[in-house]
């Protein structure tokens, strides 16, 4: 079965855009998530990433990434609540626990964990959209002027995720086929095998790239140092670069004028300023950028 994170060629602005434009756009959403702690802005960034994926036809990737991201967020909330003792609103006293010592679960630690978890979830959804919508072939070609002498670097950047996505389905099947007396496979072992296997495969891909002449001087570079060939540009590039820059600038300005009014400790403070609301609306609207105009 095909992985939902595998790139699928579809007609659409995000798929047609150059890898640089797509990275600028999706990267801006991730940057917002890492700049802000306000749950409102984080939720807006997450919503925007979900909109972006669904508008680009990558609903399957978004669903799986959301499931994984929210599971991870939940795990972070639990771990943060157990290991961070800060905060004044004690919800639960668990007493002395082995290794952890005295554990008081506070509302503040839960909130702080939720913020970190939301950030991770936003990043995962944005990356899933990137993986499902940005053609790795174009990434590989775009990287050539920068990483021409290192096919391995290019292969790792452009191919690791697609290769891992392809391997994951096979490894899951093989795990189901193990005999009852074979060592059981936990998710951690499977994930480790997937990572090492994907690295090995990426090395094989790098060898093939060498054989295909990837390390030869790029013809574009030889003709005068043009880093990104004209053929990789798209009429949608300007849209995504523009939206990415607007979101990033608005996020920085918002940060300076106090739009990030959230503090978890010592007690939860959530300030919802007009600037916070404005930024959140802008970020959500940015998620519509991959929509077709006539759609």
């Amino acid at each position: 079965m095909r992985s939902p994170f595998a790139y699928t060629p579809r007609p659409g602005p995000l798929q047609a855009a150059s890898p640089g434009a797509a990275v600028a756009y999706l990267g801006a959403l991730v940057a917002v998530a890492f700049l802000y702690s306000s749950p409102l802005v984080l939720a807006a960034a997450g919503t925007s990433a979900v909109f972006a994926g669904c508008s680009a036809g990558a609903g399957g990737a978004v669903r799986v990434a959301l499931r994984m991201g929210l599971t991870l967020a939940l795990l972070i909330v639990v771990v943060n609540a157990l290991v961070v003792g800060r905060g004044e609103t004690v919800l639960l006293r668990l007493g002395e626990l082995p290794l952890l010592g005295r554990v008081d679960v506070t509302a503040e630690a839960l909130a702080a964990g939720a913020v970190i978890g939301l950030r991770a979830a936003v990043a995962m959804v944005a990356f899933a959209v990137y993986s499902a919508c940005v053609d790795p072939d174009r990434v590989l070609r775009a990287l050539r002027p920068f990483a021409g002498r290192s096919a391995l670097t290019a292969a790792l950047i452009s191919r690791l995720v697609p290769v891992a996505a392809a391997d994951a389905a096979r490894l899951r099947d093989a795990a189901r086929l193990r005999g009852p007396a074979a060592a059981p496979l936990g998710r951690a072992a499977l994930a480790r095998r997937l990572l090492t296997g994907s690295l090995d495969r990426a090395v094989d891909v790098a060898a093939t790239l060498e054989l295909r002449g990837y390390s030869l001087t790029s013809p574009d570079a030889a003709r005068g140092g043009v880093l990104v060939s004209r053929r990789f540009k798209s009429r949608y590039d300007r849209r995504f670069y523009l939206v990415g820059v607007i979101v990033l600038v608005a996020a920085i300005v918002g940060k300076l004028v106090g739009a990030d009014g959230f503090h978890a400790y010592p007690t939860i403070e959530l300030g919802v300023e007009p600037a916070t609301i404005a930024l959140s609306v802008l970020v959500v609207l940015a998620g519509l950028a991959p929509r077709r105009r006539n759609a």
Binding site: R2, A6, Y7, T8, P9, D135, P136, D137, L140, R141, R144, A155, R159, P162, A166, D167, R170, L171, D173, A174, R176, L177, R178, G179, P180, A181, A182, A183, L185, A189, L190, R192, R193, G197, R201, D204, V205, A206, A207, T208, L209, E210, L211, R212, G213, Y214, S215, L216, T217, S218, P219, D220, A222
Partner: protein, 586 residues
């Protein structure tokens, strides 16, 4: 980029002089002064390939064939590291000084496993990549892609994404990407290992055509020598990293007869068992030799294999189950007593329909298959690439759900898929198979000695056996043995000696009461282990009968001996020799 156009065509395509090489992980480094070369992958190899020459690289597994090809394309030592001595030139370029990128202008390389050498998302992009890397304009690229796609019969695949291709299709795409730049030298590492017999034969003759019409030099490493010996000008055999034979194909067969029987082709074995000289390099030559010998003796003129026309009665070899086996019991391939037939069946399908793909690409892969596999039965599942063999095995294992009909294996299924490495997760063999049951599984596949090894350090054949042990672990004893053991293309990259080991393993499983179904493109292997052959065509079982019946009744899905003699029921060298003896040797 090297100016190849200015280099005269008389420059050898490949020139190797006293080349020795050790991989970086080798236990002993390269030391020529002491002569301690135990860890060398290549040792003192000298070889010259003239422009337009077609050479076949023969040898057992791990004899150095792949390393030699890697050295000729620059991956060794540039990509793999290690220590190297000697000289190697490709179309006049120093392969040790130049990297694979520079050599790419002159050499195309197709590795053993096509999955490891596909770097693009779509077929068209994959084939066009080398042209794009060297800066060819779009019009030139489009024409070259179209032409090579036509030559390799893949134009219908150009718009497909590579993850939707079968192994055989991937192999052809990889070959197209290697040929699209029209290199002077093409290096191929078992290119037919994943191809069905039809595609394999087509590929070999395509290579011959490229060789003759374009003057491309070809160095082809292959285990199934019967497929390509007739097309080759020359054979280079390797043993333990060194060249052990270098000469004409006919001389090679005579050498193999005395030096390494595992390299004998079925036709050569048929002739040597029958005491006929010279040994033939292919079907056509064999038929000619037999025909002229008969003519000289003033006996039957014309083709062999026309018993009806010649009036000669043929009595199949006693190994055929039609000969002397009681109904319901099958003879052992190793000549032992018939294997027991047990009820209930190991697996059954009834009107099985399976669809694969998503959206518009969804298609029927299996169409109304009815099949019963008895316990103790050994079945070869054959058919062209994409015929539905793997899907049928996966359906038995419950990995694929039918859209109609049913597939049942009441006593369980152990499936070894095409890529055994997928089963290997831990860093120690013993950790994969803990406890007494795990050790029993290892013992069954002959790997008990490798408990402490890292699975990645095992040879290809050993990894395959380990994966099978993992699939069987806990189900190896008596009634616990799964009713059905299914192996999907298990002979990829295996030499004949390894295949014999696999035949023994299959027979052991069948004796234990499992029905064994092996999806394979290897006709000779099927003839050696199977008692029954099911031939799939486009998702439908188009032939189902005894191995002797199915593998002697066609052209592509027939063994070399069957194609030479064309006698019903005669598929192996031994059967052929017996048939010749019965008719009176020419």
């Amino acid at each position: 980029m090297p100016d190849l156009a200015s280099r005269p065509r008389t420059v050898p395509a490949l020139e190797i002089e006293r080349l020795s090489y050790a991989y970086p992980t080798a236990s002993a480094p390269l030391t020529t002064d002491t002569g301690a070369k135990g860890a060398l992958a290549l040792r003192d190899v000298s070889l010259t390939l003239a422009p337009g020459e077609f050479a076949l690289l023969a040898g057992r597994s791990a004899s150095g064939k792949t390393t030699l090809l890697r050295a000729a394309c620059g991956l060794v030592p540039h990509f793999h590291g290690g220590e190297i001595e000697g000289r190697i030139e490709v179309a006049g370029m120093d392969a040790i000084a130049s990297g694979p990128g520079e050599l790419a202008a002159a050499v195309g390389y197709v590795a053993q496993d096509p999955e490891t050498q596909i770097v693009s998302t779509t077929v068209a992009a994959e084939i066009a990549l080398p042209l794009e890397m060297r800066g060819d304009p779009p019009a030139v690229r489009a024409r070259a892609v179209e032409e090579v796609a036509l030559a390799l019969a893949v134009p219908h695949l150009l718009d497909r994404t590579v993850d939707t291709l079968s192994g055989g299709e991937l192999q052809r795409v990889a070959l197209a990407a290697a040929l699209v730049t029209r290199p002077r030298l093409v290096l191929l590492d078992e290119p037919t290992s994943q191809l069905d017999p039809v595609a394999g034969d087509e590929l070999i003759w395509l290579l011959r055509r490229l060789n003759e019409e374009w003057g491309v030099s070809i160095l082809l490493a292959e285990h199934r020598l019967e497929r390509c010996l007739a097309a080759a000008d020359r054979v280079v055999a390797m043993t333990a990293g060194a060249v052990s034979f270098d000469g004409a194909p006919t001389d090679f067969l005579a050498w193999a007869q005395t030096s390494d029987a595992a390299l004998e082709t079925p036709a050569a074995r048929l002739f040597s068992l029958s005491g006929i000289d010279p040994l033939p390099t292919g079907v056509r030559q064999a038929r000619n030799i037999l025909s002229s010998a008969e003519t000289q003796l003033g006996r039957v003129s014309g083709q062999w294999g026309s018993p009806q026309r010649s009036g000669v009665r043929f009595s199949p070899h006693s190994r055929s189950r039609t000969a002397a086996t009681p109904a319901g019991e099958k003879p052992s391939k190793q000549g032992g007593p018939p294997l027991p037939r047990q009820d209930p069946p190991a697996a059954t399908t009834r009107a099985l329909w399976v669809e694969l793909g998503e959206g518009e690409s969804r298609r029927d892969v299996l169409r109304g298959i009815d099949l019963t596999v008895s316990r103790g039965e050994r079945i070869a599942l054959m058919g062209r690439n994409g015929a539905g063999k793997s899907t049928l095995l996966r359906t038995f294992a419950g990995l694929v759900k039918p859209v109609r009909g049913k597939a049942e294996a009441p006593a369980g299924v152990a499936l070894l898929s095409q890529n055994p490495s997928d089963y290997l997760v831990r860093e120690r063999v013993g950790d994969e198979l803990p406890g007494g049951a795990g050790r029993a599984a290892l013992r069954t596949v002959g790997l008990e000695h490798a408990m402490e090894s890292d699975p990645r350090d095992l040879s290809g054949g050993e990894r395959q056996r380990l994966a099978l042990a993992i699939a069987l672990a806990g189900r190896m004893e008596g009634a616990e043995l799964p009713g059905l053991v299914a192996l999907d293309e298990p002979t990829r990259g295996m030499d004949r000696a390894r295949k014999h080991e696999l035949e023994d393993l299959i027979e052991g499983l069948a004796r234990g009461g499992a029905g064994v179904v092996v999806a394979t493109h290897d006709v000779e292997f099927a003839a050696a282990f199977a008692e029954r052959v099911v031939l799939l065509g486009d998702g439908v079982a188009i032939a189902d009968g005894s191995a002797e019946e199915v593998l002697s009744g066609g052209w592509y899905f027939a063994t070399e001996v069957a194609r030479i003699l064309d006698l019903p029921g005669v598929i192996t060298s031994e059967q052929g020799a017996a048939a010749l003896a019965t008719r009176g040797r020419p």
